[in-house]
């Protein structure tokens, strides 16, 4: 039997690592549909055939619960994102956000703060550093998701950008490129929550998967992928 999982794009890579483990554990395969959280939310409201939703934020799962589309008691934080300021150019002074004040900063990659929590977090950090005002006027390249933000940087078009730690961490735990990790308390928590959807014909299986996500086996993988809890 298959469990149909809608997952936020930023967690897709991690979930792909988890899937075989869970299959070995439960004998159940995961049918993974990745995408933006906003889109998944709209689709679930319109009858999308998913059992479980791994959102990129807290808001959408909460809304689904409020609308009776998700089981209230299934909602929990499966991962907490970590924001990084990142560049593939080693010589940029990223530490302490110094580069954000630099005149040589042309374009800074950022996910759309209106739709993505990482974007909002990045804005918070910039505001605290007093750099947002200046950068907002034409220096911020807004991506629709984290992958695009990273592509802006790797193509060399944006010199640096705010990304998720999960994007730049290697399998051995080392961090690629030039990174600055802002203090996790300097921005609103990047909690990512999961819910079981009420329309699912296999509620127990969904709950079992979410329960497994809290296991040490799963948490080790999630942590290695650059998330906290």
């Amino acid at each position: 039997s298959e469990l149909r999982v809608a997952v936020a794009a930023n967690f897709l890579g991690t979930l792909n690592q988890l899937a075989p483990l869970y299959e070995a554990h439960s004998g159940q395969t995961l049918l993974i549909s990745s995408g933006s959280t906003g889109r998944h939310y709209a689709q679930i409201r319109n009858g999308a055939p998913f059992d479980v939703f791994l959102s990129a934020d807290v808001e959408r799962p909460q809304l689904l619960v409020d609308e009776g589309l998700a089981l209230a008691d299934s909602r929990f934080t499966y991962a907490r994102g970590v924001l990084v300021l990142w560049s593939d150019q080693q010589d940029l002074p990223l530490q302490g956000g110094e580069f954000l004040h630099s005149e040589s900063l042309q374009h800074l990659a950022l996910v759309n703060p209106r739709t993505a929590p990482y974007g909002a977090a990045g804005v918070e950090v910039m505001q605290q550093l007093g750099a947002y005002e200046r950068l907002q006027a034409g220096h911020i390249a807004q991506a629709e998701n984290l992958t695009q933000a990273m592509q802006y940087i790797t193509s060399g078009t944006a010199q640096a950008g705010f990304l998720a730690l999960s994007q730049v961490i290697e399998t051995d735990g080392s961090i690629r490129g030039n990174t600055w990790l802002p203090d996790v308390d300097s921005y609103a928590s990047l909690e990512q929550q999961a819910v079981v959807l009420s329309a699912s014909p296999q509620l127990e299986a969904g709950q079992a998967f979410l329960y497994w996500l809290k296991s040490d086996q799963a948490r080790a993988v999630i942590e290695a992928a650059g998330y906290g809890f």
């Binding site: 897709l12 995408g35 889109r39 689709q43 319109n46 009858g47 999308a48 990273m150």
Partner: protein
Amino acid sequence: MDLSSADVMALWITLKLALISTLALLLLCAPLAWWLAHTACRAKVLVEALVALPLVLPPTVMGFYLLVLLGPRGVVGGFLESVGIGHLAFSFTGLVIGSMLFSLPFVVQPLQNAFATAGGRVLEVAATLKASPFDRFVSIVLPLSRRGFLTAAVLSFAHSLGEFGMILMIGGNIPGRTQVASIAIYDHVEAMDYAAAHQLSIILVGASFILLLLVFALNRRFKVVSVV
């Protein structure tokens, strides 16, 4: 090359979707295009403008509206559900409908242009040679409109291959059911599996290129005709 089975499946769904929606569009739009090419009705202008509209909205947004319409709470989806057929969102049928709607202008306009020039005297001649209206359409209009059909088919087919915003929205990116190659590529990119993304892109582009080459080469072998 070691394509994952999901990728192979995605390629297959893509091909099926592009073929079915292109064929269905050609069949459905031919009468519409013929009417547009020959009517003197004033409403024609309205229809012409309407046909082009699906292009104006971003695919995902169009997809969103379609989703609302075809989903279980939508007017269409709700009705279909109530008569026991089931709503159309997240189904292959829904994909086909979305894809067709979106490629509508690419089919109607070239056909309309072709029909507008393929008419005239030769049709009258054919009538005097005992060809019924349908026979005339098949034996005269179709061959003389070959290039129009070719353009319509190529644009619609290629667009169905590449379009994913709308398909993602009403299809739901369900592997094996509604996950098409373009979404699979997108997913690989999202998962930063660039190798898989490049590989699938190359296959999609390569296969399309060969297909297009064949189609155009075949077309070359026909007589180029202008109605003198």
